[in-house]
Amino acid sequence: MSDKKPIISPDSEGISNGTRRDFIKQSSVLTAVALTPGTVVHAASDHMDEQIAAVFEKMPLKMEVNGKPHSLQVEPRSTLLDILREQLDLTGTKKGCDHGQCGACTVHVDGHRVNSCLTLGVMVNGKRITTIEGLAKGEELHPMQEAFLKHDGFQCGYCTPGQIMSAVACIREGHANSEGEIREYMSGNICRCGAYPNIVNAIQEVKAGGQAV
């Protein structure tokens, strides 16, 4: 545990200032829950208190991601994006701004596109999430993935998962009826490399092909 000892500024040793460590020692909630208060106090002095408190601060989250059920304990402040990337290691969904301004984090929640960076994990309890990793059927790419490949709808590839998830939703929503409409309804997904015309071409091809998306 010595590795985990916080490094603090020189004048701060031994100063108590109402952090959770004190909260744990004093908490009647915890005392009520814990059957062996003595152990908890011991734990607190061993820096175990934070780990115990962390358990109580978490909320249950059940969601289906790409067809697979997940039962997680998450902090209420954790975004769906960070849960996907950091806890489930589904890193295909990208972080580009964390403020809903770029669309790189677009996923489908019950079939609709959302910015996962603006969605708290607890908001999708019981819902069905599809990320870029869940779009292909095994080795068979989704028609939109094929079209992006064919029309070179990307360069660096970082905005691409979000673009593709948005593009699929754009067609499902009925917003892909003209070049102008596609451009408008794809404008929440920024591509800094500048693949926009190719993205529009890819979406038009899928739309014209009439395949189920």
Partner: protein, 712 residues
């Protein structure tokens, strides 16, 4: 003419495309390590002064926090990140993170919180409180030559007679402003740092050069190069922002040392404005004069770019005026103004893009003064040899590019008089602008391994920030070896692989492509020798390996520039044509049509080359119409440090864009005939847009970006 216009579907699809469309492509932040901790930086809230007190108690006690680093407790970095952009000793050099209590710009990292989750690190970072001894700051950008200090030793340049443009019968002098522009690649800069032993480090880092980053980290931490491993398999755009090691990378490596765990640090989007460079605000003045029939007499190009107080960053905004036209008299004056800001860096078309906006706008202004078509004016002053050194060009087909672009945009529809064409309630205008950038070739090494199953593996350390390097390399190898591209595996983005330069200066295909070409040539010859009888053009590699009972055959080949690279002037050329619609009442500008033509030698990978040029043009539209990083000078702080307020082009801003290539190999630059393309795709585009806006409205906007308020 009537060459078929390439579409977005023509050519080999990207070899890494499947990984990119399925989410399998992993970028630097995506190599999660066991027991990994998360770091978040805290930036200063003042612009200049010193830290008086820094209170980290609350942060240190916050849940999950493992360490809070400040200048008071951080381990010192034993060496320094080497400076790339200045003479040593001139200034203190790249920012030393957590080094002392000095604040050099707003957002200067003052602390870093490391915690067991990202959320906890981010929250605890908000608890770090500092007080400061404030000093008066200066962030106001240059508005003339007066406050600047000469860059590169401070010498002005003159060819012929000083300021000869003033003696010309037709002349003009104008000032042009290019505001600071942020690279803003979609991928946030990120690093995962893992100490494998006290003197052995592995990083997954966003970088345009795995080996340059390895070398710089090794120097800073006084490690052996071979004990630093840099991985950068996929890079989510960079445009120059990942050409050097930045303070956040050093901070993460320090953090990993302190907490004895792998540490991940991902910059926030606001951090991207203060942490990884930018294209510097540059004031320019151009004096230009010509004879009545349009022969240029002289150009004087003055420029002052902003830099930081601790590091000089110089680029070449004045270079374009020296080389784009055959003009006998050129004077340039280039200075730097040190401000209390972070240091700028190279951004796509560094210097030249800024300079070409001014020069190509001035050429356009001169064409109206001369009542001469802008293309005719350029052809009248077409440089057949490099006017800067009288060397022959290795190749130049810019005149063909002018003709191709003019035909496709419908240049004959342009009205010579500005502000005279209205269609469907919109003013219509056409404009053009050209660009040039040096075509370089650096030393590179490639390994080629033919295996018994008939697959070929090519290895180099190069990074691919998006242009499609892997695809181009596979095509070079496939052509040389006479095998299907599907049988070729390209391994890159790893500092332990054979030598490759940084992906910058539009030189990757030239350098690394030559190495791949040469390696495949040697490998093929080896097979031909094995066959005896001089071999055939297309050896059956599988059969030969089997006959000789060999599991594989491999070569490691170094490829470098030769005497021709000195003998000739080597340049890539481009021209951009733009048609805009401007709403007369609201000043709204719609880019209606774009045609870009590049003379970049032989086109290796048609599909990705086309995309690269389209992307450069879109970058130029951003530069022309939207992009401007704004500092509130009362506080020295960015006010638009996010994608809602710093506007970049979105899909609705962009029409279909035609990208055409002269596609004639350069006979001298390298064995593959390819010149660079990344920079010229952007250089000149902003001027083309500005010139089209003038043609539409009769209003000349010389301070970018051209927002509607400047037109009404």
């Amino acid at each position: 003419m009537n060459k078929p216009i390439p579409t977005s579907a023509d050519g080999l699809s990207r070899v890494d495309g499947r990984a990119k469309v399925t989410g399998a492509a992993k970028y630097s932040a995506e190599y999660n390590q066991p027991n990994m901790a998360y770091a978040v930086l805290v930036g200063s809230t003042i612009t200049k002064g010193t830290i008086a007190t820094i209170d980290t108690k609350l942060a240190a006690k916050a849940p999950g926090v493992l360490a809070v680093l400040t200048y008071l407790n951080s381990p010192k970095v034993p060496g320094h990140i080497p400076t790339k952009a200045q003479k040593p000793g001139a200034k203190s050099g790249p920012l030393k993170v957590f080094y002392d209590n000095k604040i050099l710009y707003n957002g200067h990292p003052i602390a870093m919180v490391v915690a067991d989750t990202f959320e906890r690190a981010q929250y605890a970072a908000s608890l770090v409180k500092a007080t400061y001894n404030k000093q008066a700051h200066d962030t106001k950008p240059p508005k003339d030559l007066s406050r600047g200090v000469g860059a590169w030793g401070g010498k002005d340049f003159t060819r012929g007679t000083v300021d000869a443009w003033k003696t010309a019968p037709i002349k003009l002098e104008q000032e042009y402003i290019h505001p600071s522009e942020i690279h803003n690649p979609m991928e946030l800069h990120a690093i995962i740092a893992r100490w494998d032993a006290p003197d052995k480090l592995t990083v997954w880092d966003k970088t345009q050069g795995t080996q340059a980053t390895r070398d710089d980290i090794a120097k800073a931490f006084k490690l052996k190069k071979e004990d630093v491993q840099v991985n950068s398999q996929f890079v989510g755009g960079a445009f120059g922002s990942a050409l050097q090691v930045w303070p956040h990378e050093v901070a993460a490596i320090l953090g990993a040392k302190v907490v004895k765990r792998p540490v991940k640090l991902v910059l926030s989007r606001p951090d991207m404005f203060t942490s990884v460079g930018y294209r510097p605000y540059t004031w320019q003045k151009i004096g230009i004069g010509a004879t009545a029939d349009g022969k240029l007499v002289g150009i004087t190009h003055e420029a002052v770019g902003q830099t930081s107080t601790f590091e000089d960053f110089a680029e070449g905004p004045i270079n374009t005026s020296k080389g784009l036209y055959a003009v006998p008299n050129v004077t340039t004056r280039y200075k730097l103004l040190s401000l209390d800001v972070n240091t700028p860096t190279w951004m796509r078309g560094p210097g030249e893009a800024t300079g070409a906006f001014a020069l190509e706008s001035a050429l356009d202004e001169l064409s109206y003064a001369l009542k001469m078509d802008p293309i005719d004016l350029r052809l009248k002053n077409y440089a057949k040899v490099d006017p800067d050194n009288n060397k022959q060009y290795s190749s130049k087909y810019l005149d063909e590019a002018y003709a191709m672009g003019a035909e496709r945009i419908g240049w004959e529809n342009r009205k010579a008089e500005a502000g005279t064409t209205i269609q469907n309630g919109w003013l219509v205008g056409y404009g053009m602008g050209g660009g040039m950038f040096g075509a370089y070739r650096d030393v590179a090494v490639a390994r080629a391994i033919m295996k018994a199953d008939g697959t070929l593996t090519i290895q180099t350390a190069v990074s691919d920030i998006g242009p499609g390097t892997g695809t181009a390399m596979v095509l070079i190898a496939a052509n040389k070896m006479g095998i299907d591209p599907g049988k070729i595996k390209f391994e890159m983005g790893d500092s332990a692989l054979p030598l490759a330069p940084m992906q910058g200066g539009s030189a990757t295909t030239s350098a690394v492509g030559s190495a791949v070409h040469d390696a495949c040539t040697v490998l093929k010859e080896k097979f031909q020798q094995l066959m005896g009888n001089g071999g055939t053009d297309n050896p059956d590699y599988v059969k030969i390996l089997k006959e000789k009972n060999l599991p594989s055959l491999e070569v490691l080949t170094k490829s470098q520039p030769g005497p021709d690279n000195e003998k000739y002037s080597m340049q890539s050329w481009s021209v951009h044509f733009v048609k805009v619609l401007v709403h007369p009442t609201t000043g709204v500008i719609k880019v209606d049509k774009v045609v870009c033509v590049a003379d970049s030698g032989k086109i290796i990978s048609p599909k990705t080359a086309r995309s690269q040029v389209v992307g450069g043009a879109i970058g130029g539209i951003g530069m022309a119409l939207m992009e401007e990083a704004i500092i509130d000078h009362r506080y020295g702080r960015f006010v638009n440090n996010n994608f809602a307020d710093y506007h970049v082009p979105v899909n609705a801003d962009i029409p279909q864009i035609e990208a055409l290539f002269v596609n004639k190999p350069d006979p001298y630059i390298n064995p593959i005939g390819a010149k660079g393309m990344g920079e010229i795709a952007l250089i000149g585009m902003a001027a083309a847009v500005a010139n089209a806006v003038y043609n539409a409205t009769g209003k000349r906007v010389r301070d970018l970006p051209i927002t509607p308020d400047k037109l009404i």
